[in-house]
Symmetry: C2
DNA sequence: AACTTTCTGGACCATATAGTCCACAGATGT
DNA sequence: ACATCTGTGGACTATATGGTCCAGAAAGTT
């Protein structure tokens, strides 16, 4: 979809400028509330440039923005996102998420909002966004899985379900930050999600001595 | 906003027909993906009727749909929603929610999706939708509050936060039903929310399974 | 310098869509 | 029966917006 054409440094810079400004505008006003003219005005570019860098038109541009925002959002959760192996890591992740979305220029999640809006209107881009969401969820699931493998979570926990519930709480919290114009719902949602995760905490200290003695006896 | 003009039975029926059909179309394709012509075609009406019953145009119509869907959604959660005083009621509520959204023609929540889309583009209607969301959340909070008053939840639980986290989980689950085209995320989300709520269960009777780590005294 | 390629500006087009208007049908009340 | 009000049809308008096109500037390549 994106261009296979060559980009000079200047061109790349312009393209980046467009994506960033458009991403901002879309976060604030949604895809439907963002016209190509808005973007043109906000970036001091011309119509032809928009179609030069995004031959597929608005759809193409929105897809680029989705990719851009996806990267940005995942990056904000690092390094915790990659190593959700301990309770401390989850705690760090939680704080990073709250800090990131609290410092954004507008409430809500660029990816979540995009997903919700596009699923109803643009199936093609929507699939792409859904893929980003899946990847994101995958990181959480990987963490839960490793927590379980390490004996921190009960053996009968289902990592997929657990990760899904945390992911859902996260996005619900983010959705509500929009309607309530406050960070509170996100904080409450993650607090709840962490509580639910702790509910599956393995019985205290599966220490070697205890396991050993039992098997010996 | 709505008409103060008189409506004959015939008129009321037409108006209702428009609202219902439009609500459906909007649930499927979003506000941006629904033109007045779509609605006209889907209801066998004419342009003039749309403006006759909704003088404010599309905005007015969307507001009416929000109200309609809000009622419908709350109704689907009854009678549990009004009496979330026991663990059984919450369980019943959970099942009712899953059943309702599982039987809808399309994934997602009409109110949540509307809120997400409109906040970015139409502040006026968005406020109205946010009010419906608040009312909805209020029911959950009232339930949690009564649970606590009845001694079913610990005294140091914060009903507002707890209800908010459940509400967030619910809407996150609903958002993900859209991206994943499955009821699973909603089920997982509510499962998690219930687990988080149970984490605040008052230790009235030590009839717990095998959790000896927490309450000793 | 000559030449090619990329970048940029903005006029222009096509059309989708919200919204207006008016004529007429069909009730309803007196 | 008459007058009046509500309901309905559909042509018409205005405009916002996505998209095209081409000429020319800037950069880079030989």
């Amino acid at each position: 979809m994106s261009s296979t054409t060559k980009l000079t440094p200047k061109g790349a810079a312009t393209r980046a400028r467009i994506v960033e400004a458009a991403a901002d505008h879309i976060l604030a006003h949604g895809v439907g509330g963002t016209s190509l003219d808005d973007i043109r005005a906000g970036t001091a570019t011309s119509k032809s440039q928009l179609f030069h860098y995004f031959p597929g038109g608005k759809t193409d541009l929105v897809a680029a923005i989705a990719s851009f925002q996806s990267e940005r959002v995942l990056e904000a959760q690092r390094p915790f996102l990659d190593t959700l192996d301990t309770w401390e890591a989850w705690e760090g992740w939680r704080k990073a998420v709250v800090a990131h979305y609290g410092s954004q220029a507008h409430w809500g999640c660029p990816i979540g909002a995009l997903a919700s809006e596009l699923i109803a209107s643009d199936p093609a881009v929507s699939d792409e966004v859904a893929a980003y969401m899946d990847r994101w969820r995958g990181y959480l699931q990987a963490g839960v899985t490793r927590m379980q493998a390490a004996g921190l979570l009960r053996a009968d926990a289902v990592p997929e379900t657990l990760a899904l519930s945390i992911f859902a709480a996260l996005h619900g919290g983010l959705l509500l930050t929009q309607t309530m114009q406050s960070i509170e719902p996100l904080e409450a949602a993650l607090e709840g999600a962490m509580a639910a995760l702790h509910a599956w905490q393995a019985p205290t200290r599966p220490s070697l001595s205890e396991v050993g003695s039992e098997s010996l006896a």
